[in-house]
């Protein structure tokens, strides 16, 4: 070996070349894909991968690629936010700590980037080799997007290089602003990459031009199985935007959980108080990010599910009540565990905050609420057992309890935030900008609610809605006779108006320096509206006016969002500059709390594997639903057992690989002095 080569091996093939190698592999794969129509042998529709089922190989490689991609796309979002927060700090020490944390997040990213690209390349090779006929069709429809994808990949790679390797050089003054701008660009490019890839996946599920009762559209897009519509039509298919939103939030939550788990492992292995304090803080931030993104994730999931049902009612039925219904019970177990693990971590952390013990008396209540909701959330409808499934197994119950779980988690956050704060700061005394912020929050919330209340979906002018009339309104233990008849939609409208009124009351109380009372009332009334009232009312609607069930769910989501928005704004203002009982004692956490962070990460990974299976599996016997049949020997929907084995295998492989990647990242330095050290008050 020459001296240059030896030097290369020692230094070059270290961290900087791996992104390039993975990147090269992916681009090679993409160009081979572009060559596919010219070289694909039409007679060969399927090939095995070295004698192994190509479906299994594609499943494993695609899921691993997606998991790494989620990490690579999710982490930069909060890395740049943390960097910006640090930049805006007036205290240089605090600014340095935030900057160091953002750098540490990005350091993890640099290692995972190469692996993502390598899996992308491998996936391309496998698809092209194993499913040439199907890939020929996909290439025919999407070939022009492949160029954009490849070019964006260049942009992603180069931006990441400059962002990561230029961190120290662009640390001050204008160059720091440029650096943050680069971080924003990195996210924009990453998001663009994701939405392009999402369009390919969702096209396979919901190709355009097949909608029932639109024969003209059908003719304009298809000739046999040949797609002749525009690329944009195929790109912006029905499920594209719902999946974009769902994946965007999912990636942030996933990235936060993985960074939290990384911090937990470093915490458990810490040798000094300083190191422990740093990783405790990092774990807290990871958990905060994961939970913040997890809170709206069920809404995005509901939106995706609703659009799946809208595109194809049988596909929706398969998902929630048919072939995939047991996997949704598993998902309920995973999601419930995520909420429990995240909350457990918060509760455990209260003792390290002076004054946190004041709020500990609420924890058993929150714990009880979460577990009762969890019980309803996972009750299967499939089993004719006990009778509980008759209520708890149906959507109104599930929708009601998830709202309550989110609200309880949010309340836990509020308590955590105010643990070491004393007194309530007058919002009026904070000046016009504070009042404006408060009014803006209530205006956005009220506008959302009023817009929906006044929309066609809840309008009596719609004959589909006005035909469902209610004479007596059934509630839990009695019927209310209101002397006349109104539509079921009107009862929903009035619920929304009622919530708007309570938003106003909460703001008025805040402006009269009774903000804590206003906030507590708002959270309580929201729980009554979204969980208690619409739980019971949802069943009545389901029974008497079935087509309106989806409006109940949308109303619940909007009610909750309006509360979260206003209560957050109130909390920011009520404790701005409030007296403190002392600094957070970072590092003073029991070891069990760190295992809850690990649990959070493991369940996120398993859940992602499971939901990936469901989303893709919903196509059942089709490559492209209703267009190209999967006629291979591996076309059948896997059994739940096979799914469990493969998804577990993928998840464990990912966890091992990501551990390895993070380990290699830490070969450079394991001293938190390089990355910021003691977080102080955080």
């Amino acid at each position: 070996m020459s001296a240059t080569a030896a030097r290369y091996c020692r230094r070059g093939w270290n961290y900087r070349s791996r992104p390039a190698a993975g990147f090269s592999l992916l681009v090679t794969g993409l160009f081979l894909l572009l060559a596919a129509p010219a070289t694909a042998a039409d007679e060969v529709a399927y090939r095995t991968v070295l004698g192994i089922s190509p479906r299994l190989v594609v499943w494993v490689v695609a899921e691993l690629h997606l998991m790494f991609a989620a990490l690579v796309l999710g982490v930069p979002i909060f890395a740049v936010i943390v960097e910006l927060v640090g930049y805006l700090q007036s205290d240089p020490d605090t600014a340095r700590r935030y900057d160091a944390l953002a750098y540490e997040f990005t350091r993890l990213l640099s290692g995972a980037f190469a692996t993502t690209a390598a899996f992308g390349g491998l996936l391309t090779f496998t698809l092209y080799s194993s499913y040439p006929a199907f890939m020929s069709h996909l290439t025919g429809v999407f070939h022009s997007t492949f160029y954009f994808y490849a070019l964006l990949f260049f942009a992603e790679g180069f931006t990441l290089y400059v962002y990561y390797y230029g961190w120290k050089r662009m640390a001050r003054g204008r160059s720091k602003i440029l650096h943050i701008w680069l971080g924003v660009q990195l996210n924009l490019v990453g998001t663009a990459l994701m939405v392009i890839a999402n369009s390919w996946a969702t096209y396979m599920m919901s190709p355009p031009g097949l909608e029932q009762g639109a024969a003209g559209t059908l003719a304009s897009h298809w000739q046999g199985t040949q797609y002749i519509g525009s690329t944009w039509d195929a790109f912006a298919n029905y499920l594209w935007m719902p999946l974009n939103i769902h994946r965007m939030l999912g990636n942030v939550a996933f990235g936060g959980a993985i960074c939290g788990a990384y911090a937990a492992i470093r915490f458990l292995g810490s040798r000094s108080d300083r190191e422990r304090a740093h990783y405790d803080w990092m774990g807290y931030v990871g958990n905060f990010i994961a939970l913040t993104a997890l809170i709206p994730l069920p809404f995005a999931g509901y939106y995706l599910g609703r659009e799946i049902y809208s595109f194809n009612a049988t596909m929706g039925q398969d998902m929630m009540g048919g072939t995939f219904s047991w996997t949704f019970i598993l998902q309920a177990v995973f999601v419930g565990t995520l909420f429990i693990a995240g909350n457990f971590y918060l509760w455990s952390g209260m003792r390290r905050i002076p004054g946190g013990e004041r709020y500990e008396r609420y924890v058993p209540w929150m714990l009880g609420i979460l577990f009762c909701c969890f019980a309803v959330w996972l009750t299967p409808h499939n089993l004719p057992a006990g009778g509980l499934e008759k209520k708890f197994g149906l959507m109104p119950a599930k929708n009601a309890v998830i709202q309550l779980m989110i609200l309880t988690t949010f309340a836990g956050f509020l308590m955590y935030r105010r643990s070491n704060k004393v007194g309530e700061v007058s919002v009026r005394a904070q000046g016009r900008r504070a009042v404006l912020l408060l009014l803006s929050a209530v205006a956005v919330g009220a506008a959302m609610l009023l817009r929906y209340a006044g929309s066609g979906e809840l309008s009596d002018a719609n004959p589909e809605i006005s035909r469902f009339v209610v004479e007596r309104l059934p509630v839990a233990f009695a019927s209310i006779d209101f002397g006349g008849s109104i539509t079921w939609a009107a009862t929903l409208r009035w619920t929304l108006y009622h919530q708007v009124a309570w938003l106003g009351i909460a703001v008025l109380l805040t402006l009269r320096d009774r903000g804590r009372l206003g906030q507590a009332l708002l959270v309580g009334v929201t729980a009554l509206h979204a969980s208690a009232w619409l739980f019971q009312h949802g069943f009545s609607i389901m029974e008497k006016a079935n087509p309106l069930v989806r409006q109940v769910a949308v109303s619940q989501v909007l009610i909750l969002l309006s509360c979260l928005l206003l209560a957050t704004a109130m909390d920011l203002l009520l404790y701005r500059g409030a007296a403190s009982l002392g600094e957070i004692r970072w590092g003073r956490m029991h070891r069990r709390s760190q295992f809850s962070l690990l649990l959070l990460c493991v369940f996120f990974v398993f859940n992602m594997g499971l939901m990936g299976f469901i989303r893709s599996g919903l196509r059942k016997g089709w490559h492209v639903v209703s267009v190209i049949k999967d006629s291979s020997a591996w076309a059948g929907t896997p059994s739940n057992l096979e799914m469990a084995v493969v998804v577990s295998g993928i998840s464990i492989t990912f966890l091992l690989m990501v551990s390895f990647v993070f380990w290699t990242v830490n070969l450079v330095s394991t001293d938190p002095g390089h990355t910021g050290g003691d977080p102080g008050s955080g």
Binding site: Q212, E307, S593
Partner: protein, 311 residues
């Protein structure tokens, strides 16, 4: 072992509470939960109607959850956790034959319970069961031709009504009588009235077919309580409420009637369905009309696909 005071504080402490909590929750999930289930399902606390093969599974799930929740309560507070563990460690350090006896008997008892649970099964594997089997693709997009009639069908309907082939009498539904009146007077009715009358007529025909073919099992009101229902292992489907036909598109119901229990897919079972394969006895048109009658009798409407957002 701990001294008298230590034992007292252990009993009053987290360990003692745990020893009270666990059996209390077990009893609640074993005995109180089925009562609640009966009330939720049929407003009857002591109803055993729904306690079928998998009864008790939900109780087991809830019991496991309660234990998990209790563990969280013990573990999030360091002080409580140490109080809980202290007597446990003391027990392990206890130099007494009773310790050895407990350590031997506990795993044996757990093993015996596991053995009993493994050998005591024999029922169908309920964990594979799903609510709604997937209809073959050809069925899932089908529309009921009598709910969405073509212009030819409507014209033929007018002709039959005018010629008296369709008899309208006092017992016929109002919509049909009114429409026949307009038609007999030579008036031109609007299309909505015409479609409503046609749908009503088809439903009436379906109702007659339902009473002859379906009522014996599914009952006069479609509640799954016909005279032959009691003879079956699994009750015939109850069309009222929100769980059966209300949640299905009509194509899926058509498939279930046409191909019956014998053509249900193997996956997702056990179905235990005695539904006959009606394609051997009824025409497609007759089945569609029966389906209209089923929804009508049960006071339900078929599930319609939602409108696609943003498209």
């Amino acid at each position: 072992m701990a001294e008298q005071g230590g034992l007292k504080s252990a009993v009053r402490g987290p360990l003692g509470r745990t020893l009270l909590f666990v059996p209390a929750v077990w009893l609640a999930t074993r005995y109180a939960l089925p009562l609640l289930g009966g009330w939720l399902a049929s407003d009857d606390w002591f109803s055993m109607k729904h306690n079928l093969a998998s009864a008790g599974l939900e109780g087991t799930l809830y019991f496991a959850l309660a234990l998990l929740g209790w563990s969280c309560w013990l573990a999030y507070n360091e002080q409580r956790w140490q109080q809980f563990l202290a007597p446990v460690w003391e027990f392990f350090a206890w130099k007494h034959p009773l310790r050895a006896a407990i350590l031997v008997v506990s795993p044996l008892a757990a093993g015996a319970m596991a053995l009993a649970a493994a050998g005591g099964g024999g029922g169908p594997d309920m964990f594979n069961a799903i609510r709604h089997p997937t209809p073959p693709d050809a069925f899932s997009h089908m529309e009921n031709p009598f709910r969405h009639p073509t212009a030819d069908m409507l014209e033929q309907f007018d002709a039959q009504l005018s010629s008296g082939e369709i008899v309208v009498n006092a017992s016929t539904e109002d919509e049909l009588v009114a429409y026949a009146g307009v038609l007999a007077a030579g008036g031109v009715s609007n299309d909505a009235d015409r479609r409503r009358a046609f749908e009503r007529h088809s439903t009436e025909q379906g109702r007659e077919l339902f009473m002859v073919n379906c009522r014996p099992c599914h009952g006069t009101k479609g509640m799954g309580d016909g005279p032959m229902a009691a003879a079956q292992t699994r009750s015939p489907a109850d069309f009222t409420g929100v769980e059966t036909i209300a949640t299905l598109v009509e194509g899926a119901v058509f498939w279930r009637v046409k191909e019956g229990g014998v053509k249900l897919p193997r996956e997702g079972g056990p179905w235990e369905s005695a539904m006959p394969r009606w394609e051997l006895d009824l025409s497609d048109d007759e089945i569609w009309k029966i389906i209209m009658a089923e929804y009508d009798l049960a006071g339900n409407a078929p599930r319609e696909p939602e409108k696609l957002g943003g498209h």
